[in-house]
């Protein structure tokens, strides 16, 4: 076992893969505190959110106080403190999508899933966010389900798309 693997061992005795991945990124920045954004972006990708345990690891390894890390996380929209659903639904509220009616698409998703923006269904299957331009403005209005992009949306298409994931 190398240094990183030793630190990645979970209380159950197995190596915690996510923690290992995170530690590898932390090692790659060589103690450079100014690379906090890189590390947090990596944590967000590895876990799908930034759990307290990851914050703690980052804090210890980079010697940055927890409070400061928390302050940075909450400043940026990409970082989240809560896990996302298995399917994270994003409705684009960028200007190009908004003027083509994406708000009504969002309202429809809210109605069908019964959750608000930032919410997650009780079974953990769907979460809902509003995004600000995913770069596919040519397809506006745009809705995303994880990495899949659905273009030229209108409210009447929402149900069929969500049904694919139920």
């Amino acid at each position: 076992m190398n240094e990183i693997e030793k630190k990645s061992v979970c209380t159950c005795g197995e190596i915690d893969d996510n923690k290992k991945k995170l530690l590898e990124v932390i090692v790659s920045v060589n103690g450079d505190k100014s690379q906090l954004m890189k590390v947090l972006n990596a944590a967000q990708e590895i876990y799908g959110y930034i759990p307290t345990s990851a914050q703690k690891t980052i804090s210890e390894e980079l010697d940055i106080p927890m409070a400061e890390i928390y302050g940075v996380i909450t400043f940026y929209t990409r970082f989240s403190l809560e896990p996302k659903g298995k399917y994270n639904i994003g409705v684009c509220l960028g200007t190009a999508c908004y003027v083509k009616g994406s708000q009504m698409v969002l309202d429809k998703v809210k109605e069908i899933l019964g959750i608000d923006v930032g919410g997650i269904t009780p079974d953990g299957k769907f979460s809902l966010v509003s995004t600000r331009c995913v770069g596919a403005c040519g397809l506006a209005p745009v809705m995303t389900v994880n990495d899949e992009v659905y273009g030229n949306m209108d409210p009447s298409k929402v149900k069929d798309i969500l049904d694919k994931y139920v």
Partner: protein, 620 residues
């Protein structure tokens, strides 16, 4: 590491392989299938198209056909786009299922698949890219390689004069000469403020310090704008090369590109480009055998609009919350890590190599007296040709909307255009003939901005648009100063009550007063410009605000609280299309007799309005 001679050899060799992409008289047997790999077309699965082509090529053992994944062609609305060179055939809205047909007919038998050709807005079939009206009035300097080269192959960049500007600078120019060339070109910052680029470089050069930095702003926070992202995706080396030139000019040896983690394709291609440039010795020590040293590092943002502001950006690069610092000291004196720093926008940089290679007088011959060169716009909203356009300064908005953009869809009327996003303003119909340049746009209460250009038709409520932008700035205010944090919130509350039919006498005056105070007392550009969308819509569409307050009416019919969707009994033929498409089953009726909308169920989504073939449904 490659010497100048070796680089020239690579250029020559690669050019002989790819010149057919530009050469319309090419008669050889090679064919290049260019498939758009920009974010837009990737979202509509252009990757599958590429894979399928490669599969077929392999299957048929063809050695004269290549598939190239390029950056954005510009006409994103018709994506995914396939262009076959040398004949320049333009296939639009392609699907992976069409690939076999294109391959069998076009590639194997030289037969164009008419069915899949791109159609212009007027319905006419377009055979080649040059024939499209969309491209006719464009002038591509920044985007010259987008859609032409494989951005992940440095050799292709080299073939079209890549890194020649850097070579010229390192082997035959002094720092002063470089700065003079940039100054004389008249280039101004494309990130929004339009500050003369040469002057900025001079300030950074004049700062005395052992350690200086160059930085590139690729935060692109304006929602609905994708210019900078597209440049990084389509031609990343043009930015790296320009940063090296800037570093030489001001005396820096390290560069940072600040880009959002939300732009994965751009980040990836930029990293590939940096790695390749290092491998060729175009970044690192002793570049091109001189004693010039320079390297670039990517720093990731995470979606905060305020981080596009220069001092906030620096905080974020250093790994902190992106809260703006007070200026002075300006970044040219005390920037990244406390050292003198030159910060320019992606598009600003992307102009530099062409200025160095073709000269300041060539560049300054394009554009108007005070605004030189071209500007890239992300054209979006209610316009036929949504996409990326590059136009000479001085072109009119009318030309962009109608000649390039192909006009407004669904037979609707142009109402206004928004430039500058949440910091900018709207341009109403009576100013369609305003030339696009920094001064003319400011004079009418709008701004050049960084390139977001959203077109709105007559179904857009300008009060609600202002509410939309304020909602954005309230979300994005960093909270450091109370006028911005609390003032914008107060403005938003007023706008919300207006669109909900609860406006009160005096609300307009309150908005104006708040706007003035916020503009005057905010620390950074975000707060200082946040009220602009309200002020400019008030300037041109005050009557709409008044109608919301006095008559509790939304003239555009957008604000749901004040409108109803109604079927005109005279026009309705009872076809039932509307009721089939209503997402909440609010429409009932019997076939062949007029249908009716149950107002208690209707969510006013407007789907039925668009679906009715007899235009019998409207908002009242």
């Amino acid at each position: 590491m490659k010497s100048i001679e070796e680089l020239n050899e690579i250029r020559e060799k690669t050019l002989s392989e790819i010149s057919l992409r530009k050469d319309r008289n090419y008669t050889g047997r090679e064919k290049h299938i260019l498939v758009c790999g920009g974010t837009g077309c990737t979202s509509s699965h252009s990757k599958d198209i590429i894979e399928k082509f490669n599969e077929l090529i392999k299957e048929h053992n063809l050695d004269n056909v290549r598939v190239i994944r390029t950056g954005c062609f510009g006409l994103c609305a018709r994506g995914p786009i396939i262009v076959i060179r040398p004949e320049d055939t333009f296939y639009a809205m392609s699907h992976v299922d069409d690939v076999e047909e294109i391959f069998e007919k076009h590639i194997m038998n030289g037969e164009i698949v008419e069915r899949l050709l791109c159609k212009d807005v007027d319905g006419s079939v377009v055979k080649s890219l040059d024939e499209l009206n969309f491209y006719k009035k464009q002038h591509r300097i920044v985007l010259k390689n987008c859609g032409l080269i494989d951005p992940e192959n440095i050799d292709e960049y080299l073939a079209f004069d890549g890194y020649k500007a850097l070579e010229k600078v390192l082997t035959s120019m002094t720092a002063e000469e470089v700065i003079k060339e940039v100054s004389d070109s008249g280039l101004r910052g494309r990130g929004g403020a339009g500050f003369p680029t040469g002057k900025k470089w001079q300030f950074a050069k004049d700062s005395q310090d052992e350690q200086k930095y160059v930085a590139c702003n690729a935060d692109e926070g304006d929602p609905g704008a994708f210019m900078d992202r597209s440049v990084l995706e389509g031609d990343p080396h043009s930015v790296i090369e320009a940063m090296a030139i800037a570093a030489f000019a001001i005396g820096a040896n390290k560069g940072y590109v600040y880009v959002r983690a939300e732009y994965p394709i751009a980040v990836h291609r930029l990293q590939v480009a940096i790695d390749q440039a290092r491998e060729y010795g175009l970044l690192g020590k002793n570049i091109m055998g001189t004693n010039f040293e320079f390297d670039v590092e990517i720093r990731l943002g995470a979606g905060a609009f305020v981080c596009g502001e220069e001092t906030a950006l620096m905080e974020s690069v250093e790994g902190r919350r992106g809260e703006p610092r007070t200026r002075p000291p300006f970044p040219a004196v005390k920037g990244l890590f406390g050292k003198p720093t030159l910060l320019n926008n992606v598009e600003t940089y992307a102009n530099i190599t062409q200025i160095i290679l073709n000269g300041a007088s060539w560049y300054s011959s394009i554009g108007t007296e005070k605004s030189k060169g071209t500007k890239v716009f992300a054209l979006g909203g209610n316009i036929n040709n949504v996409g990326l356009v590059e136009v000479p300064m001085g072109i009119t908005l009318r030309e962009i909307v109608y000649d390039i953009g192909g006009g407004i869809p669904n037979g609707r009327k142009f109402k206004a255009a928004q430039t500058g996003g949440p910091s900018g303003g709207c341009i109403p119909e009576e100013y369609l003939d305003t030339p696009i340049d920094y001064e003319s746009l400011s004079a009418i209460g709008s701004m050049m901005g960084s390139g977001g250009l959203i077109i709105m038709d007559d179904s857009t409520c300008m009060v609600n648009l202002a509410r939309f932008f304020l909602d954005f700035t309230v979300d994005e205010s960093c909270g450091k100063c109370p006028p911005c944090r609390i003032g914008t919130k107060r403005m938003l509350e007023i706008l919300e009550r207006l669109v909900n039919g609860k406006g009160r006498e005096g609300d307009i005056e309150k908005l104006e007063k708040l706007a003035m105070n916020i503009k005057r007392s905010s620390l950074c550009g975000l707060g200082q410009t946040a009220p602009n969308p309200v002020l400019s819509t008030l300037k041109y569409f005050r009557n709409e605000y008044e109608a919301h307050i006095k008559e509790k009416k939304c003239p555009a019919g957008e604000c749901k609280a004040m409108t109803k969707v109604m079927i005109d009994k005279e026009k309705c033929k009872g076809c039932s299309l509307c009721s089939k498409n209503c997402p909440v089953q609010a429409i009932h009726g019997e076939l062949k007799s007029p249908f009716e909308i149950d107002q208690s169920k209707c969510i006013k989504c407007g789907v039925c309005i668009a679906k009715c073939p007899f235009k019998a449904i409207s908002r009242v």
